[in-house]
Each structure stands twice: as C-alpha cells, then as structure tokens.
C-alpha cells in the first residue's frame, strides 16, 4: 500500500479516510452462508490469529483484521464470490479481476462473482484511481484465489487421507489423477465455516501458463448493457423516493444573503449556503426551485484571460516530492551548442462523464444508505460521516457499476446533497446532476503553465534540461531521457477554479510540453525527431515501443502532399511505456488541420485482457483528441461560460481518425495499469505533425480551438 502516492495535483483528496472494515466473522457467514473464506492479509500477519476448523471454535468472535487486502468466499454450491473495494467504471476492472480469480481457482469465468465498492461488504480501499487496480488488486486477488485453491486441496487431502501433492484442481473440482476420484468445490465446502488468513507469498500461476488471463475476454454481464437492464447509480429507485434539486449560486464562492419561498407540499432545506428541494418528480422539483427567491453576494474573481499570469504570480515554493536536481544546469548549458527556452500552457478541461454525478440517499433512523457513482466509495462514506456527524459504521455506500469517471468522480457532492434532502424529507431522495451542473460544480483538470529551458549539442545530445510546471501537476514530470544536467520542479499555485484528478493527471500536460520541446530541439539540430529521441533514450522498453510504433506507422516514408505532416512522441507513466505517431493534413493558408491517423504502441507488462487493453488505448487516444485540439473551460468572474455539450466540444464520431494499436506483451514483466497512460502521447504527436506540415509550432492546449489560423 505504501507505494500509492498522492500526486500533488489530486487536489480533491485533501485527507485520507480511516481504515476500517466492519464485518465480523459471524456477520460474514450470516450474510453469505457457510463455506470457506480466504483473506489476504497485507501486513502485520503476526497480529492476526490464524483460525481454522470454524465448526469447533468457541468464544467471542474476533473482528476481522484491519489490513485486509481482499477476501473471497466459496459457498456450499461452489459459487465463488470475491470482495474488493475497487469499482467498475468502464475500464474493465470487473472483467480483469474475474479472469484473475478464475485462473487461479481453475474455474469458469461464470462461476465467479465480484462484489465491488460496497462499503459494508468489501475491505477498505482508498479508491479506483492511479491505474492501481491491475498492479495492486489483481495480484492480491490472484493470491487469495491461489490460497483458496490450496485450502480446497487440503480439505480433499484430509477427506481421502492422501498426500496433498497427489491432488490437482480443475473445472471447479479437486481430483486425484491416480484414482480419478474427484470432489467439487461445493462438496468440499459443504458444512464448513472455515476462515483462513493467508500470507502475501503464495505460489501463483506463471503467466506463460495462463489459460484465462492473457485471453481476450468480453465485459462481464455485457448482455445487461445492450438490453438496458444494467442499473447505473442514476437508475436506482427506492420506495416513496423523491427527486431533489439544489439551488446553485450565480458564481463560485457566492454567499447567500437572503432566501424566501412560498412552497407548500415540497421539502425545502435551507442550511447555510445550501438550498435544496425534493418532490415527486424532476420537473416539479425544477419548477419549485425556480420559485425560490434568493440573493447572493458575489466577489470579483480571476477570469480565463488572466489565468496564466495569475498562476505564475501566485506560484509557491516548488514541491519537494516532485523535485529533481541532477548535475548542474550551468555546466549543462555551457556544454551546449544551442539553447532553447519555451513556455507551454494547458487549459482547464472537464471530465464530462456521460453519466453525471448521481446519488440516492435513504435514512433508516440514524443510519444512512447511499447509492452513488464514485471512484472512492470509502472516501464518500467518510465525507458523509463527517457532514452528518455520525460514525462511519452508520453509513453504507453502494457503488453500482457506473457511467464512467476518468478521475472526475472522487468526491461525494451529489451523495451529500441527496442525504441532506432525504433527512429532511423522511423519504429516499435521488439527485442527478444536470449537464450544466456537471460542467460547473464538479472539479476540472488543472490548468497550468510550463516553462522549459534546455541545451543541446549539434550531434543531438541533450546536455541540460530545466522544467517548471506551475499548477497543473507533477505526474510524469521527470523526463525519461538520459540527460546529465536536470532541474525539474512543480509549483502549486492559486487556482481560480476547483480542480483535481483527471485521467493521467498532469502527465498529459508534462508530456505535451516535454515532447513538443524535444521535437523543437530535434529541428534545432536538424535531426529526424525519431532518431533524436532514440539517441537520448536509454530505456529499452521505450526504445522497443518506439520501434513498434514507427514501424507500424512507416515513419520516414515520403510525403504524398504538401499538407501532410508526421509527428511522434514517447510516453512513460504509471508503468506504461508508450510511443504515439500522428499523421495530419494541415493547410496554413486555409487554417485547417485534420487528424488523419494515429498509431500507438504500448507496453504495460504482461497483458491480462488484450481486447480490453486495446479498447482502453483506443478510448484514451480519442479522449486525448479533445484536450489536444478543442476542449477548454471558458470562465469569467466565477462563472463557467460554456457548460453545455453544444458549447464544449468533446470528440464525436466525425473527429475520429484511423487508429491503430500495437500491443507489446511482456509476459516476463508485472502488469501495469493501462487506462490512463495511452492518452499522453496524442497531443504532442499531433502538434509535432502540424509543425511538420505547416511550420506552425503550437504550444498551448487546446491547440486548435478555432482552427489553425488563430492558434498560430
């Protein structure tokens, strides 16, 4: 767990919740029925009493250990249920984790069910972010499943009084090949109430022997998604449920000075600056809200036009967590034949998940149950417990697989609003944010200013690299290039807008600045951009994805028109190794730029689900097109000016170029998460291709919000 770092730009996560898992052993079997339960204990194993032979046990039920990473139950019918705090938001975690368990337990995918993100049932988890499900949760569940397999073999060995080494598992059975006798998992778990805490070092199936992992596997329960049967958070309905709406201030930071209404038969809550209503249906709630007379006090605020000056002006000391000083910039610049200084900027952008923030809250006495779409169910539980001053044990957060997040659903805003209204109404209340609320009251990917100063020798060796990121963040701020003299810093600043995590965090901004600057250096010394990168990169995995991408792209081929441009970028973040190539058709006089083709090669270690990986890479590239080309939040004096899809252009069918993905499968290396990093190469590869076609260097994201002319 200790390797989870909060990158500084996860501004929304100001505090960590307390670790807590609420179920006792008795509650567990009461909830699940008999069988066997296997816990993976992350550390402090000594402190946990190993239990066995549950039927014989007497005395008080111990609480479950606090440092549980995962648990898994095999019922008397052989059904396997796995409990994890990770959530499914479209990235494929449910499918991948199911594969992992099925592989180690030697059962069919359909025999395994995952319970995810239900705070009463699953072990504590900080949240689903940072591409951590694959590198952290998948190994844990593998271990839990492998340990359960060993427990089952042990039960069969006891039953038959034979050496356990003579037994094998397969098809949901333990078999003794010698006698061809077998017992199903259900037969073995019948009547058991066995709890096993297992250490972190069980033997796992080697990736070269995988039969379920490593194979393209469709989304679990996919039929429910094409028939409309799946229940997303915004689809939850409870008996007597009301629909709530919240009165939004006219600007950020506004305070309520007076409020009055003549509403009858409608629940109205006024508490500080919060005003909300709840009634029978959404239209009635919207109409009720419109009749409330409220006066607000607003304060002048920084607008988009002053943004970058403001970020520089308010920048604080650099963040030690992200600082790197290597060699001496002075020496590095002295050794250079040429020097370059450039500034790059990135705008605020919105996650705009298609399912907006939504929650249903229901009180039973002083206990609160909330169904909500969040990447941090335990974080939302803590927020609710804090707001309502109740113990965390009295808050139950349930997270049905939701309509995406991209780092945007880490906070419990809608859950808190629904719970406030439900408490006053004495009935369950549903809140679904409108698109405008989603574009205004969520948080944004941080805007930023990045300054780069560098030196290069005429032979293409980079001698000096100074990099300052103001506000946008520190993710992947360190260059993967082999540069003897470096000074790299991240400076937080005062942000006029609420900001926080986003797919890949600031890795997109830092890669945009870095890979654009690298391209500028290559042109400065008149070297091919691919050769220039190869010369300055030592990392063998980056070299290999560069080879794969440039080969698939046919880098170096002759241009067939003057509008054609080619660009390349490499990326390294969260264990993912990326090379992206772009082809554009751009015309300087016409002011047009069309993205023709994108090729990405990606290596994230051993691939667990190749089709889902490909889907994630394609999706990240398409999402990346938005921030690269057109997406920007426009704001003025505390107001968002474009809080609609009609005014904020996200990628559509007609924006999508031909996309090709090359997967580099490294069965010999641990699997890294892959939902984020493929986004980082898109903007610089396209910008470099536009330069190649037109000679126009674009140093601000989005690059062509109004076409090429105005961007130049």
């Amino acid at each position: 767990m200790t390797e989870i770092l909060f990158e500084p730009e996860r501004y929304e996560l100001h505090a960590l919740p307390v670790r807590y898992s609420g179920l006792t052993r008795r509650q567990f079997f009461k909830a699940l029925g008999s069988g066997i339960v296997v816990f993976l204990v992350l550390r402090d194993l000594e402190a946990v009493a190993q239990e066995s032979g549950g039927r014989r046990r007497r005395g008080p039920m111990p609480r479950l250990p606090l440092e549980i990473g995962a648990w898994l139950h095999i019922a008397e019918d052989g059904a396997v249920t796995v409990y994890t705090g990770k959530v499914e938001v479209g990235q494929g975690s449910r499918t991948e984790l199911t594969q992992v368990v099925a592989e180690e337990l030697r059962v069919l995918l359909t025999s395994v069910r995952l319970v995810m993100g239900d705070t009463d049932l699953v072990p504590f988890d900080m949240g689903t972010f940072g591409s951590q499900t694959t590198p952290q949760m998948a190994p844990r569940l593998r271990k839990a499943a492998a340990a359960a397999r060993e427990v089952l073999i042990g039960l069969a060995a006891d039953e038959w009084k034979v050496d356990r080494a003579s037994l094998v598992c397969g098809d949901g059975k333990v078999t003794r090949p010698k006698t061809k006798r077998s017992l199903t998992y259900g037969q073995l778990t019948k009547g058991q109430k066995l709890v096993k805490a297992i250490p972190d070092d069980v033997t796992l199936t080697s990736p070269d022997r995988w039969t379920i992992e490593g194979k393209p596997t469709p989304k679990i329960d996919c039929k429910a998604f094409v028939t409309g049967q799946h229940q997303y958070p915004s689809d939850i309905k409870r008996p007597d449920m009301l629909h709530g709406k919240v009165l939004r201030p006219p600007a950020f930071g506004a305070t309520l000075t007076s409020v009055s209404h003549e509403l009858k038969g409608v629940t109205v809550v006024h508490d500080g600056d919060f005003v909300g209503v709840a009634t029978d249906n959404e239209l009635a709630a919207t109409r009720a809200l419109a009749t409330i007379h409220a006066e607000w006090k607003t304060t002048p605020q920084v607008s988009a036009a002053e943004l970058f000056a403001e970020l520089k002006k308010t920048a604080g000391q650099s963040d030690e967590r992200a600082r790197r000083e290597v060699g001496s910039m002075e020496k590095g610049l002295a050794a250079a034949d040429r020097k370059l200084q450039q500034t790059y900027t990135v705008a605020y952008i919105a996650h705009a998940p298609l399912e907006p923030r939504a929650a249903v809250a229901e009180w039973n006495d002083d206990k609160l149950t909330v169904w909500t779409g969040t990447q941090r169910p335990f974080g939302v539980r803590s927020e609710l417990a804090n707001v309502f001053q109740i113990p965390e044990e009295h808050v139950h957060v349930i997270m049905p697989d939701m309509g995406s997040g991209y780092g945007g659903k880490h906070t419990g805003d809608a859950a808190i609003e629904a719970a406030r209204l439900a408490k006053a109404a004495g009935k369950p209340v549903k809140i679904v944010w409108t698109r405008e609320e989603e574009f205004t009251w969520a948080y944004f990917r941080p805007a930023g200013v990045i300054e780069v100063a560098s030196g290069v020798r005429d032979d293409g060796t980079i001698t000096a690299w100074e990099f300052h990121n103001y506000n946008s963040g520190a993710a992947a701020i360190q260059p993967p290039y082999d540069i003897p003299n470096q000074s790299v810093e991240f400076h937080s600043a005062h942000s006029p807008l609420r900001q926080g995590s986003y797919r890949s965090l600031a890795a997109t901004a830092n890669h945009f600045a870095r890979e654009t600057h690298i391209d500028e250096l290559a042109h400065l010394v008149k070297m091919d951009p691919l050769e220039f990168r190869r010369k300055n990169l030592k990392d063998a995995r980056l070299q290999s994805v560069l080879d794969a991408a440039s080969e698939a792209f046919a880098w170096g081929r002759k241009k067939t028109s003057t509008e054609q441009g080619f660009g390349i970028a490499v990326g390294l973040d969260k264990g993912g190794h990326l090379a992206t190539c772009a082809e554009v058709s751009a015309d300087r006089t016409e002011g047009t730029a069309k993205i023709v083709r994108l090729v990405a090669a990606f290596d994230c270690g051993a691939i667990i689900n190749p089709d889902n990986l490909k889907n994630q890479i394609e999706g990240a590239m398409i999402m990346g097109l938005g921030g690269a080309l057109r997406e920007a939040i426009e704001f003025e004096n505390g107001r968002i000016l474009n809080p609609r899809f009609s005014a904020y252009r996200v990628p559509r069918f007609s924006d999508v170029p031909f996309i090709e993905v090359v997967l580099v499968d490294r069965k010999d290396l641990p699997s890294a998460g892959a939902g984020e990093t493929p986004i980082v190469g898109v903007a610089p590869a396209i910008g470099n291709a536009i330069f190649d076609a037109t000679g126009i260097r674009l140093r601000s994201l989005p690059m062509i919000p109004n076409g090429l002319k105005e961007g130049a």
Partner: protein, 156 residues
C-alpha cells in the same frame, strides 16, 4: 395537473397519469421503470436518451410526454423480440463496442433508426447519422464496426 396520457411503449398500451409537460425521458425512467434510456445532457446533444418514435430516432429528453400520446415508442428494452436480441445488440456484444456502456442504449437505438432507413450504410453515412451520439469512453471505431456487422447480418 395530472393529465392522463395514453402511451404506446414497446408494444404495450399504458395510461400514464403524468403532467404532459414532463419529458418523455423522465416518464419512461421514473414512472415506467424503463431506465435503459439515459439522461446525458438535456439539450439533444449527446443522444443517450434516444428512443424510436414511429420508427424515427428522437431525443426523449426534449420530447414532452404530452406530445407523443398514441405514437409508437420503442426503447432499448423493446428491441429484443421473442427472446432474441436485435442484430445490433448482438453485434455490439460481438465487437465489444462499449466500455462503461452508458451511451450504448442510445447508440443502438439510433443505429436501429439508421438501418431502417439505410440497410447498408457506408462508413461516411454511419458517421454522419451517428454524429449526434456521444461516447465519452471513445469506443466510436468499435461502434462503427458493430453497425457494419449488424447491417451485414441483417442482409443475410
């Protein structure tokens, strides 16, 4: 205000006591529990709320329920016929044309409208027709492939 609207939804005749100014989307989801049709933007820009009205894809978020009395409404829940998935539903599964799948209902319903009008659409025709449907996860290339596959299956 509670007028009684007669709705034909997925082949069933229903009397719905709902304010006629409420959106068809809200009535489908909140009163009839047909939650497969989704809210995405409320301004007809994302297509998540698409239903077929007399065979044409329409944005139910912008359609007051009072205006569709007696017209034939098909939602994603009504596409499956006699226990058999619609060719588009099968094709989306076959291709894996989804991630979070929140847009999927609207995509399938819009594509059903397209295939009704044009049983063998070109890539360009698909892009033109579907451009009002958003997939934030970016599964567009897969959705195009699924529509082509369904068209091929239907023409068999």
């Amino acid at each position: 205000m509670a007028n009684d609207t007669q709705l034909h939804v997925n082949g069933a005749k229903l009397h719905v006591p709902a304010d006629p100014e409420r959106s068809l989307l809200s009535v489908l989801r909140d009163d009839l529990e047909l939650t497969g049709t989704k809210y995405g933007c409320g301004e007809g820009q994302c297509g998540a709320c698409t239903v077929l009205i007399d065979g044409l894809p329409q944005r139910s978020c912008l359609t007051p329920v009072g205006t569709v009395a007696g017209r034939q409404i098909i939602t994603i829940e009504g596409l499956e016929q006699t226990g058999k998935l619609h060719p588009l539903q099968r094709a989306f599964l076959e291709v894996g044309a989804m991630q979070c799948a929140y847009c999927t209902s609207g995509m399938i319903i819009s594509a059903a409208g397209l295939l009704k009008r044009n049983p063998n659409p070109t890539q360009q025709a698909i892009i033109r027709f579907m451009d009002g449907n958003l997939c934030r996860c970016g599964t567009y290339p897969r959705i195009i492939a699924a529509i082509k596959l369904a068209a091929k299956e239907k023409s068999k």
